[in-house]
């Protein structure tokens, strides 16, 4: 086959059904819907939510998880588009961990040392480690599908960052259920749960995002 023949075949397949930006947006919406369905059917918000929304610690969990989802989404859209400079997005992923570290430091200053252990271990660590990865699977799968339209230089890394987005979405729902609000708890168990999703994303991305 000559190159011109190949071009003839390509030209007949001209229309683009899905563009990357639209596909990623659809994947996030669909992923949030799937995670939300698991959340509302399976676990639901915690019973004392009306009091909880008045506390800084409860609200802060959403600040962290949403920051993670937003920054990772911005980065992945740049990584999946060839020839687009990363610019400030290179540093975007620092935002969520930096917020967490600041909160942990504040918690350690405000709270007496004797309470750290209880706050750190919490009551729900096992649920947290199970439910966040479980609810992240839907968003992660849809995101990886959408990212197949993209062309990331490092498929594994792109998959891992898709894992961060998915974990951010899942953790946002989970945070509404979880009775443990201390930054000490969040920094430990949410981070470990996110790590599981990132690992899955990395290995899945390596396979399905090659091009």
């Amino acid at each position: 086959m000559k190159t011109n023949d190949l071009i003839a075949a390509l030209a007949q397949d001209a229309p683009v059904r899905w563009r990357l930006g639209k596909a990623v947006a659809a994947a996030m919406a669909g992923g949030a819907a799937v995670a939300g369905a698991i959340f509302f059917i399976g676990i639901g918000v915690r019973p004392d939510v009306m009091q909880a929304v008045d506390t800084v610690r409860y609200l802060f969990k959403f600040v962290v998880t949403l920051t993670l989802a937003v920054t990772a989404t911005g980065l992945i859209l740049h990584l999946a588009r060839p020839g687009v400079p990363l610019g400030a997005w290179r540093w975007a992923l620092i935002a969520a961990p930096a917020l967490l570290v600041a909160a942990v430091v504040a918690e350690m200053i405000v709270m007496p040392t004797s309470t750290w252990g209880v706050r750190w271990i919490g009551t729900n660590a096992r649920w947290c480690m199970t439910l966040i990865p479980l609810m992240a699977l839907g968003p992660l799968t849809l995101l990886l599908l959408a990212l197949r339209l993209g062309a990331p230089r490092h498929p594994g890394a792109a998959g891992a960052i898709a894992g961060l987005v998915a974990a951010g979405i899942a953790a946002t729902f989970y945070a509404a259920h979880c009775p443990d609000d201390s930054p000490l708890f969040v920094a430990t168990w949410y981070t470990l749960a996110t790590g599981i999703v990132v690992l899955i994303g990395y290995f899945a991305g390596k396979r399905v995002l090659r091009w």
């Binding site: 086959m1 011109n4 071009i7 075949a9 001209a14 020839g83 687009v84 339209l149």
Partner: protein, 172 residues
């Protein structure tokens, strides 16, 4: 390219034809440095064209298309050379070739792509063969194979995806 993404086959063809000599020059220049011979380079050009085709949804239409294309070429070239084991032998003639980037006689690459085509499944292979080498339209191909035009388009799209995977896994 904007018209092409909206589905204008004619505009898309013109775009691909216009960009191919540039791809060829780029591939030769970068490839020659690592000892990719002439017919190899044309293989890589075809692989890059397929990548541009399959990944065109990742181009942000508000940005210039140049950096998008050259990043794709660079990535594909790195992959292709890595696959070929990067034997570095660069005869000076290859470097001179760079200056006059014409399509080489396609004996070698024809055999390679013919082998890749042979590995496609049947309606797909027939459709690619018909539209590319024989130059028929989608409608004629559909009539001949007693398929709907939509089905032919879907099969063509799948076949091109499959071809890209075959290129990636290397000839043979």
């Amino acid at each position: 390219m904007r018209a092409a993404i909206a589905g204008d086959a004619g505009a898309y063809r013109l775009f691909l034809e216009a960009v191919t000599p540039y791809l060829r020059a780029l591939t030769r220049r970068r490839g020659a440095r690592f000892g990719a011979a002439g017919s190899d380079a044309e293989d890589i050009v075809q692989e890059v064209l397929l990548a541009i085709h399959l990944k065109r949804g990742s181009w942000d239409a508000t940005r210039p298309i140049g950096p998008w294309i050259s990043t794709i070429v660079r990535n594909k070239l790195i992959d292709a050379l890595r696959r070929r084991g990067r034997q570095v032998n660069v005869p000076i003639e290859d470097v001179i070739d760079t200056l006059e980037a014409e399509e080489p006689p396609d004996s070698l690459e024809q055999r390679d792509v013919a082998r890749l085509l042979a590995r496609l499944k049947d309606p797909q292979r027939d459709i690619v063969q018909s539209i590319s080498v024989e130059g028929s339209s989608v409608r004629d191909t559909a009539t001949r194979l007693k398929m709907t035009e939509g089905a032919v388009r879907v099969a063509l799209h799948r076949a091109l995806k499959a071809l890209a995977v075959l290129y990636r896994s290397g000839p043979g």
